[in-house]
């Protein structure tokens, strides 16, 4: 059975050596939070993930969610107790606003926690994950009264949240939404319609479920401009703040699916349910996108968490499984065969996994710090710049991290050989669980379109500049440093390649809009691999300096340098192929008739 050990040492490295928190010292969330506190928090979070959540992961996969005839869903054994432990210890409010009972700690810490929860038990992590998204929407767009009413119980975890966008006829294209919202005389609305595939739509973890629902008012304009956002609680809150009368929303079915079996995927029926408008009418989609942006980062982190646990288990297996001899002659002659970790191809799979996981973790935390600056920094200019960077990175993190999650989970299975394919070994669950992350929160194809169609051109290219100038200032800061040329030179070349490819895509798509869609996926991957090269070069520089200064963490820093070299030698060259593919344009994709593709 798989085990999970949280990467506390890597978190320590990233938080204390890599992130450069001194630069962010003006952040209110950091004034009362030292490196020691962060270590202590992550240690305790790791303990919860490793000892409470991970042991339930296989149970959840086995038992799934049961729905009874009254539309009540029961989660697998142990989930409700684990959720209670999680909430009582205060984890649900880690980064939430202190005014509503949160701890107000920095977002990047929330990402570390989220990685651990997802690695340990991705289905479990879905419930708090959705609540956080809903909290964010209400915090940002709700009225004061709505904030007072909903945020404290949601931050404490007594109530959970959902997001209701999808309907049978509309997934990506939300302009097709049909759910109706009729104004009532008391200022509330009556919501009617069917939503499908609603995660956490029904369960037995909490006293109440706060559904955020997209719907149309009677005279709303057609398409995406006519969508409004409503709070539709399962139980209508009473004036004392407790859950009261049952609302007319019910779970009509729980879907059977490939993975994430303990995360309830529900069909929700609204039959004149009482709903409360959030913000103004017809602003729903833009408001929901607040949630979508944070949720997209967290979806990326789901991919990362599952990649991380898959990679760990593959590496342990490869050290134990004896099969064949090293091509260079027996390396462990006292054993009947060498462990498979001696074989270059097995090492290739493990190193790819490690380079992707640690590179992505660095990029995720770096972006998490920018997100913290965007939300909480006192200086508006710093907030604006950080906001640009986050906006640019959001589709990249969502799509690349989840593609990587799938890739690494599959590599991990491959390292296990036949055992990997056998259910009881437990690693095929990672492959199944991670697969959805490439689809929900906007498919990865749609993320790539967002990058090319919106982010590339937004604000006169300012978003793009926020990336290039950050990489350039890193390059300038280490140029000429002993031992850095092997990283800086290829980084500089690949950044040039990315810049020229961006310009090319821009030109091509101003000539023909189909070019944007044709280039998008390859362009996103090119961007991501370049961003990871920056992360690895930065980690290499830090590690080299630390080793020169006689750091206490020799092994970690030596490993970082070795994996950075691997990344530059065996992974970054993929960008050459991607550049060529992007340059080839749309023509060959569009040549065949629709009925012959």
């Amino acid at each position: 059975m798989p085990v999970y050990r949280a990467p506390l040492d890597d978190f320590r490295f990233l938080v204390e050596e890599f992130l450069d928190l001194d630069q962010a010292a003006d952040l209110p969330s950091l004034t009362d939070c030292s490196a020691d506190d962060i270590r202590a928090i992550l240690r305790e979070g790791a303990r919860l993930a490793e000892t409470v959540l991970q042991p339930l992961n296989a149970v959840g996969d086995e038992q799934g969610v049961r729905l009874d005839d009254d539309g009540r869903a029961t989660l697998p054994e142990g989930f409700a107790e684990a959720y209670q432990t999680y909430c009582e210890a205060g984890w649900n409010g880690l980064t939430a606003d202190v005014d509503y009972g949160g701890q107000g700690l920095p977002v990047f810490l929330g990402l570390c926690l989220s990685e651990m929860l997802n690695a340990a038990n991705a289905s479990f992590a879905a419930y708090p994950g959705l609540t956080h998204g809903a909290v964010e929407v209400i915090e940002r767009h709700g009225s004061d009264e709505q904030k007072q009413r909903y945020l404290p119980p949601m931050i404490a975890g007594r109530w959970t949240g959902t997001m209701n966008l999808t309907e049978p006829q509309c997934g990506t294209d939300l302009g097709l939404i049909r759910t109706r919202a009729e104004p009532a005389t008391d200022g509330s609305y009556r919501i009617s319609g069917t939503k499908i595939w609603i995660s956490a739509g029904e369960h037995d973890l909490a006293d109440n479920i706060v559904h955020l629902v997209l719907a149309r008012t009677p005279d709303a304009p057609a398409g995406t401009r006519g969508i409004s956002l409503f709070i539709v609680p399962k139980f209508l809150p009473k004036d004392d703040g407790n859950a009261g009368e049952r609302n007319r929303v019910r779970c009509a079915g729980v879907d059977r699916k490939m993975g994430m079996k303990a995360s309830a995927t529900c069909e929700m029926q609204y039959d004149n349910a009482v709903g409360f408008l959030v913000g103004e009418e017809n602003r729903g989609l833009a408001q929901m996108f607040t949630m979508m942006n944070a949720a997209r980062l967290v979806t990326g982190i789901q991919g990362l968490g599952l990649a991380s646990v898959a990679a760990q288990n593959a590496a342990s297996f490869a050290r134990e499984r004896l099969q064949g001899r090293s091509l260079a002659g027996p390396k462990y002659p006292d054993r009947p065969a060498d462990p498979i970790i001696v074989h270059p191809d097995v090492r290739y799979m493990l190193l790819k996994s490690r380079a992707l996981v640690e590179g992505a973790r660095a990029l995720g935390l770096y972006t998490g710090l920018q997100l913290e600056i965007e939300h909480r920094h006192p200086d508006p200019e710093r907030r604006r710049q950080a906001g640009h960077f986050v906006a640019l990175m959001t589709p990249i993190i969502k799509a690349f991290f989840t593609d990587m999650g799938s890739e690494v989970a599959n590599l991990g299975l491959q390292v296990h050989g036949g055992a990997g394919y056998i259910h009881d070994t437990g690693v095929e669950q990672f492959v199944r669980d991670v697969r959805i992350t490439q689809i929900y929160e906007g498919t990865n194809g749609v993320q790539a379109l967002d990058l090319v169609g919106r982010k590339l051109v937004a604000d006169n290219g300012d978003l793009l500049k926020s990336f290039f100038s950050a990489v350039q200032s890193f390059i300038d800061s280490v140029r000429g440093e002993e031992g850095m040329a092997e990283f800086v030179d290829p980084l500089e070349q690949s950044v040039k390649r990315l810049a020229s490819t961006s310009a090319l895509v821009y030109q091509q798509m101003s000539r023909d809009p189909l070019e944007a869609g044709a280039a998008s996926s390859d362009f996103l991957r090119l961007f991501a691999l370049t961003a990871l090269a920056w992360m690895w070069a930065r980690m290499a520089a830090i590690s080299q300096r630390a080793l020169d200064a006689g750091s206490d963490h020799q092994t970690l820093h030596q490993d970082k340098l070795a994996v950075a070299r691997f990344y530059f030698a065996r992974m970054l060259p993929e960008t050459l192929g991607l550049e060529a593919k992007v340059a080839a344009g749309a023509q060959t994709l569009m040549a065949l008739e629709d009925d012959r593709v």
Binding site: R5, R39, A40, E44, R47, L48, T85, E88, Q103
Partner: protein, 248 residues
């Protein structure tokens, strides 16, 4: 009444311990360190006694380099009222630990000193017993249930034959066994609050404890690999086999 709970920083029980390549010790770089699990159980028991109103204060103490403050902070986050860090760079052996604790007892006059029965790194299982002798007070080791009344403690102890229940007069030394309780999870807000609880640092020299090494570590090596098993056909063959190997 005060309860003093000495805690030790050890390699986490989940970590697969590796011996350093030069045999000078075990690898601790980048390795997760935790409160010794038995000490954590002792602390949990002390907190429960205080929560029942049978003690006023729980003090955690640890001996070692500045790193042990991490474990002391965890102890404070679990609910201890204050912490004492006895600072020394050399890892003290059980007798020295007992002598140091005796000095802390003289300062604090606790009603109970609650230790773990052993540390999972060296598995000595000596400190509690030595401390009771030095202090000249009763001991109840391997505790699996503790009840207090009228200045006495009734303690169920896990012994080879099962459970043995004894009554001792306080002040006394106790040591926890595995089944005494299940330690609580630390609450996030308590981690932040723990920062504001007092943590006193005392240099070991200021305690005037005699520190001489009782024994010297010569080398560390991993346990030998287990040889293959053998299936025997009969009891007689088993006995022969054991005799041949000098085991009977």
């Amino acid at each position: 009444m005060k309860i003093l709970v000495p805690i030790k920083r050890v390699v986490d029980y989940n970590v697969r311990v590796r011996v350093k390549s030069d045999g000078s010790g075990v690898e601790t770089e980048g390795v997760k360190m935790s409160i010794n699990p038995f000490d954590e159980i002792a602390l949990e028991e002390a907190l429960r006694i205080r929560e029942r109103g049978e003690a006023e204060e729980v003090i955690v103490a640890s001996i070692g380099g500045t790193d042990v403050q991490q474990q002391l902070r965890t102890g404070l986050a679990m609910g201890a009222d204050r912490a004492i860090h006895v600072e020394t760079e050399t890892a003290p052996q059980p007798l020295t630990v007992a002598r140091i604790l005796l000095k802390l007892i003289e300062r604090e006059s606790p009603g109970i000193v609650f230790l773990g029965k052993q540390a999972i790194d060296d598995d000595c299982n000596q400190t509690a017993q030595m401390l009771a002798a030095l202090w000249d007070r009763p001991q109840a080791t391997f505790a699996s249930r503790v009840e207090l009344a009228d200045g006495k403690a009734t303690v169920a102890r896990e012994v080879d034959a099962g459970l043995e229940t004894i009554e001792i007069e306080l002040p006394a030394v106790m040591s926890s066994d595995l089944r005494l309780n299940e330690p609580r999870f630390v609450k996030l807000p308590d981690i932040m609050k723990a920062k504001r609880k007092p943590l006193d640092v005392i240099a070991i020299a200021d305690l005037g404890v005699e520190q001489g090494a009782g024994f010297e570590m010569l080398a560390f090596e991993p346990p030998p690999k287990r040889g293959g098993g053998k299936v025997v056909g009969s009891v007689a063959e088993l006995v022969d086999e054991l005799k041949n190997r000098g085991l009977l």
